[in-house]
Structure formats: C-alpha cells, structure tokens
Amino acid sequence: MASNGIRDRVAIVGMGCTGFGERWDKSVSDLLVESSQDALNSANVPVDAVDAFWLGTLFSGQSGLTLSRPLKLAYKPVSRLENYCATGSEAFRNACYAVACGAYDMAMAIGVEKLKDSGISGLPSIGAPEDGTRAGLTAPATFSLLAPAYCKKYGVDEGTFKEAMTRIAWKNHKNGALNPRAQFRKEVAKDVIACSPQVAGALGIFDCSGVSDGSAAAIIVRAEDAYKYTDRPLFVKALSFIAGPATGPIDPDYDYTTFPEVVASATDAYAQAGIKDPRAELAMAEVHDCFTPTELVLMEDLGFASRGTAWKEVLNGTFDLEGELAVNPDGGLKSFGHPIGASGLRMLFEAWLQLRGEAGKRQIASVARGRKLALTHNLGGAPGECVSFVSVVGSERS
C-alpha cells in the first residue's frame, strides 16, 4: 500500500480547547465559537485568515453550515465529516492534507459534540432504517468481550486483569485531577473503581468513559510558514487512518485480544514518522480509553508492550505520568468524557501543551530531557469491526 505520508510538510500553529463536561448552559454554536476563538487567539490570527475549515461531529449537526452559521464565516469552504469516534482526528487529517497539497495556506480543524442534550444514558442510536437483525449490544458490552479473551489467551487470572483495568481508571482520574479542562477532576480510590455497579461483563461504571460535551480546534499551515505564527509549532510527522473490513465478529479466527486496525494504523504511522521504538522515542501517548480493557489492549497494539505483558506493565506503573511512557497524561476519555467529534482534537491539545512545556502540574519530565514526539490515537466501532487513527506530532522538523 502506498501511504506516503506528509511528514514535516504541515504544522499546528494554534490550538484551543473548551472545558469538557455537562455544559448545560452552552449550545453547539457556543462551544464552536469558544474553541475556535481560543485557537485563533493562540495563533494570533483573525478568523478571516483561515482559508478552509474541517468540522468533525457525529450527532451534533449536519453540513458545513453547523460551523459557518455561528462563526458567520465569510463564504469559506467548510467540510463536515464523521468517522465514529475518530471524527475529530479525521477532521484534523483532512485539513492537514488540504494544506500540504497547497490548495490552502491556512486551515482549521475543529470538532464538537453535545451528547448531554439527548437525555439518555450512554450513546444515542445511529438511525438509518434497518431490518431489525443487528444485535442491540451497547458499546460497553462489545468491549467487555476483550477481558475473558485476553485472560484465556495469555493465562492471566481474571482477578489480576481486573486489577489492571482498575489501575488504568485510577491513573487516568489521577491525571485528570490535575487538569482544569477535564469533566472529572478528583482522584478516585481503587476500591471504589473495582466495586462500582456492573455495566457489562467485568466492566463497572468506572471502567467506562462518560458522556459529555466539548469542543477543540487546531490551526494548520505549511511547515515553512509555521514560525510566522508561533515560536513553538508542532510538526505533523504521521497521519494514519485505517477502516477494517469489519469481519471480526463473523470470522472464527478473530480472538478478541487485539484490534488489527490499530496495529495497521500504528505500523503505517511509525513508518511515516520514522519511529523504530515507540516506547523509547515518544514522550507521551493519548490513546482511546473508551473502556479500561481497551487501553490495556492498545498498549500492545500500539507496540508499547509485547503481547501478553501489558497487564504487568500497567500494574508496574510504566504508563503513569511519571512512568517510562506517559499514557493519557491529560486524564483521557476517562476524565474528559467522550464528546465524539471533539476527542481527537482534545488529544492533540494535550500534545500541544506538553511538547511546548505548557502542561503545568502535568508536565512530563522526559520532554525537557529531549523526547520531542507525541502520539494520539482514536478508535471507533467495536472489537473486530472498527476504524483506527494514529497521529505523530513533534516539536522539531526532522
């Protein structure tokens, strides 16, 4: 496959991110105005300097008008796109290509979601007419299938696996407690997590990311123009998006211990970025912790731990904020909730802060010691039938 990448051809020069949470008082338009204003101020440019916009949202609006209407854009191109939980990242990816090819000088990628207007627990349904035969499984149920499969394949005791799941939720809440933009800003004790009401399989409430509202945005220009806008741009090293054939659930050879789509997108991204040993080269990774067993499996699929060992590394603190490779230093989906269109850009926002040394109490020490790369990852769908996005950004051109 020819995935040539656009390494070091574009850079992020400004970013904005609203607070995530139950934003009853803010509409979709309000959130878009706020995150876009933050990004524009961060790059010190007016909105008319932006030539083209990519808006990511799954449930919160159709057509580019969802953005052009509140921002009163002056007759500019606005694409509205969706790719399940990788929607925000997808907006970013497409905006980058548009700038890299020279069609536009400056683009904005912006994501938004207001899940709290629906009034229901969990995610709303996606509504095309159907024949009624699709299993009505919730997202927690589909991802709960990972746990017994992993334990069986690697001979891990289910109690130990549950401990690792709990540790992941604990770590992410601990990080989120340091983050003024997070929905949940308190540490949560491990026994509270472990004993939370059951949702599906081994998952309790605290093993599941929440439902929230939020928005985030990024301003992108060609790499050679980056320093006109900021002295600390982030250069895009890799963008990979993989849509799997969705055959996992109907193929007896799929064993529910891995996301092949994630492996493919990580391999592609590392090749684009020239990364040989991600655990040694990355300062941080923001990964899609929709559920705790998901984050555990992602450590192996992203190459941060060898097969069958992620549970040990998790329990050892390898991925803690002070660990060898900080995973979800901002608190992850666990602390922010998952406003679907915004999450991918919220992850890039943490990379933006960390690599520029602006993360305050969450600042990762390895950045100052010379690690200059960050990874963001989203997956959307269910085990065996998903899409996966991986990006790598860095503070220097190679």
């Binding site: 627990s121 009624g132 149920a141 499969a149 599906a200 193929d251």
Partner: protein, 473 residues
C-alpha cells in the same frame, strides 16, 4: 383423508409456581406449575418452533399449505402464518393461512389439513392467561404443536391415520372476549357443563361408529377444551378403560387453549404403540372428535424431544416477571433510546436471513457468512456466494458477555459469540439462560423469537438457547 406423517410440540422454557400467585396476592394461585411463554415469544414464534420440530430429521413432503391457528394472534389484518412460512423457508408456491381468534380454530386447522388433497401443515399455538388472581391466569398455559398431514409414502410413511372423525356445532355463549380486552369472560360454569354434555356425547358416538370400534378399544382418550368439568364428563362418556385416561398436563403445563388438543396428541404419539387407537375430543364451541390409529412406522419417526421431556425441563419465573411479560405490570424503562422498529424494505430484502436464518457460503473458498454478503471475508471473491440455511446447525459459545445497559424487556441481555459446527461465526442474544450458568464451550441451537415490538411492529429474528433434549449433552 391425509394421515399424520410428522408431528412436533413446543413448550416454552419458563414455569410459574402457582402458589407464587397466592403468596403475592393473598388469594388465588394453587398447586403445581403453569408454562409461561418468555418475553421474547409469541404465538407465531412458538408456532415456528413446533413446526421446526415436526419437519426436522428425515426428509418430508414439502407442505403445500400451512394453516396457523391461535386465539391470541400477534397481528390482525396481517397474516401471521407468512412469518412461519418464511422461518421454515418454504417455497413461495406454498400457501399460508391464519385461522384466528378462538380455541376451536385449532380443530378447524387440523381438519382442513386432514381433508386437503395435498401435504398440509397445521400449526396450533396459544398464550393463555387472565386477570391477576383469576382462574384463567392460574389454569392457563402457553404452548404450540404442529402436524404435517399427507398421503404418506416410503420415505415419509403415515404415522397415525384417521379412522373416525365427527363434528357437532351449536351456538351458545360460554366463553368469549371482545378484541382489545385483556381477559376472557365466562358464563356461569354449570351452564357450560349443560351445553357441552350432549354435544360431546353426539360427536363421540358418531366417531366411534365411523371407526367401527367401541370406547373400550381406545388406548388413549384425550379431551381438551376450556371447560374443565365438561371435559371430565366427556371423557367419562367415551366408555374407555381407566388406563386410557392419562395426564392431561393441566397440573404441570396448564390449559394451553388452541394448542392443547394438539399438545396432548403429540404427547400420546410420543408413546403410542402400533395399532393403538388415540381419540382426541376437542370441546370448544361444539365438539370435534378424531380417532387416530398409530401405525408401525410411528416408533421410527417420533419427534426428537418428547413432550414429557420438555415438561420436566425448564426454569422458574417469578410472578412479578410473569405479570410484566404479559403486560399487566408496566415497569419503569431504562433511560435509553426507544428501540427502533424494523423498516419494511430492509426486512423484505433480508427475508431469507431475518426469518429463515439463511447465510451464504463462498463457492470460491468455502467460507460461511452470517449474515449473507456479496464479498467474501476470506478470499474477497465478489458474487460467488450461494445461500445456506443455518437455522438447524448447532453452535458452540466462543465467548460471551452480560450487557446490563442494553434495552430489554427482561434484562440483562446475554450475548454470545457463536461458532457454528462446520464453520461460520455470529454474535447474537442468548435466551432461556441463567446469565450465571453461561460458559465458553456450551453448545447452543438457534431459536426463532420476537426480539421486541416497537411502534406496533413486531421484530422477529433468531436467538440462541442451550441445546434441548437429553441427547444434546
């Protein structure tokens, strides 16, 4: 007249202890148990299960018509038998007709199948209950049975031939229900006994005369109908030996209305010896009597899971759950989106999959696909697929989970990832299971169910349940 060349009966899994009624309400209830159709069953889905039981095994003549009888149809105005037709994957040239509304409809369906000049499947099915605390709730039961009537041949011999049949009709108000009402009404019990008595005697006498036998030669006497005391009097009027009067299943199963005569006939056929005479008296708005002679072929063609085994199996359901399932207790729903009704055009396109559980097999590499698809998941060949019916293929649980958040009429939802014998994988709901008892490696079989009803549209599809029958372990 056609003879019975195949038969099957279906009892749902759940049992209500009658004393639980008394415990909850302070009165009512009684001894024994009654069978309860699950929240995901209706008369149509149970009819499918009984018909599958009848048609399973050795090849049989393809039914040229189905008659479906019930006093409690899932739909009015729309034919219910067409769903059964689709679930059995019958040829489009086979007719499918409903005979609806009353217990006697079942006798009519069976008689029409006997009189037909072509192989005909009679499917009888019912869900019976009444207002909480009443006799109908306590005495009722839910079940289905199916009989394939045909001329018989070497491959599919007659198992029971009709040697006498009689029918007596009268118009009188004994039991009735206006459509939309939750329960039936009855006139004073002694009136019914008075009205039925002579009707039963007349029909029994005529049938015996036609068959050229006396009552004492009948090996098994079956009397079924809504009026218990009239049934007892009719049984006594046959003049059969005491050993001919067996268990009418009202103590363990309940009175299954339109299905009951068929259920008891199936039970008798499970045990009858060659040349045994079985008399079925259906006492409902008149009297229909058929005398069947079992043939030597019956012993080699009995249904796979006998009625007695189905009666012994099963699990408990609590009274409050029973009331909820039957619509008498309106429960607080979860804060989840309303379930969507299936849309007619996609369901029409997917009829073979949705109703017939027919997947596809890639002719290029042999891989099975559930649901059917056009591009092979293994070899990526395009349009090299042939349809393959998977409804009767057993499967093993590869993994599973319990979903406590999903919408269900009876949470939690148990979902299994199933690997089918001979290939193919599919993920679907498990039913008739205790979530705590599900294990990887358990063997399951597919069952036709009504997943739910949304916006007055019934959503039919398939679930998996533990294999039935002692032979399955």
């Amino acid at each position: 007249m056609n003879g019975i060349v195949a038969y099957g009966a279906y009892l749902p899994y759940y049992r209500l202890d009658r004393k639980a009624i008394g415990e909850a309400l302070g009165s009512g209830g009684g001894k024994g148990t009654r069978v309860v159709a699950s929240y995901d069953e209706d008369t149509t889905s149970m009819g499918v299960e009984a018909a599958r039981a009848a048609l399973r095994g050795a090849p049989k003549p393809a039914p040229a018509a189905i008659y479906f009888a019930t006093s409690y149809p899932a739909y009015l105005d729309k034919t219910n038998a067409t769903a059964i037709h689709a679930a059995l994957a019958l040829d489009e040239s086979a007719a499918a007709y409903d005979m609806l509304g009353s217990i006697r409809s079942a006798a009519g369906a069976l008689r029409a199948a006997m009189d037909a000049g072509r192989p005909t499947l009679a499917v009888v099915s019912d869900i019976r209950t009444g207002l909480p605390g009443g006799a109908d709730e306590r005495e009722g039961g839910d079940a289905a049975a199916a009989f394939l009537l045909a001329a018989g041949d070497a491959d599919s011999p007659v198992l029971a031939e009709p040697v006498g049949a009689a029918s007596v009709t009268a118009e009188f108000l004994e039991r009735w229900r206006v459509p939309g009402e939750p329960a039936s009404r009855q006139w004073e019990e002694r009136f019914g006994e008075h009205a039925y008595g002579p009707l039963a005697e007349a029909a029994i006498t005529t049938a015996l005369k036609q068959a050229g036998v006396t009552g004492s030669e009948i090996a098994a006497v079956i009397v079924a109908g809504p009026h218990g005391r009239a049934n007892k009097r009719a049984a006594a009027a046959v003049g059969a030996k005491p050993t001919a009067l067996g268990d009418d299943l009202t103590g363990s199963v309940g009175n299954t209305g339109a299905a009951h005569a068929g259920l008891l006939l199936a039970d008798a056929l499970d045990r009858a010896n060659a040349d045994d005479l079985v008399m079925v008296v259906s006492l409902a708005d008149g009297c229909d009597v058929t005398i069947w002679r079992a043939t030597a072929a019956l012993a080699r063609h009995r249904q796979r899971v006998p009625v007695a085994e189905q009666v012994k199996a099963g699990g408990k359901v609590a009274y409050a759950t029973f009331l909820t399932w039957r619509g008498f207790l309106r429960r607080e729903p979860p804060r989840r989106p309303d379930p969507q009704a299936p849309a007619a055009p996609p369901a029409f396109r997917a009829e073979a999959w949705k109703f017939g559980f027919t997947g596809s097999r890639c002719q290029a590499c042999g891989t099975r696909h559930l649901p059917p698809t056009r591009v092979c998941l293994k070899c990526r060949a395009v349009d090299r697929m042939t349809p393959e019916r998977m409804a009767d293929v057993p499967a093993t649980i590869a993994t599973y989970t319990v979903d406590r958040l999903a919408y269900s009429l009876s949470p939690p939802v148990v979902v299994g990832v199933l690997d089918f014998e001979g290939g193919g994988r599919f993920t679907c709901e498990l039913t008739d299971v205790d979530p705590a008892a599900v294990k990887i490696g358990n063997r399951v079989e597919m069952t036709f169910r009504r997943l739910m009803t949304a916006h007055d549209v019934h959503n039919y599809f398939w679930k998996a349940r533990p294999l039935r029958g002692a032979s399955s372990t």
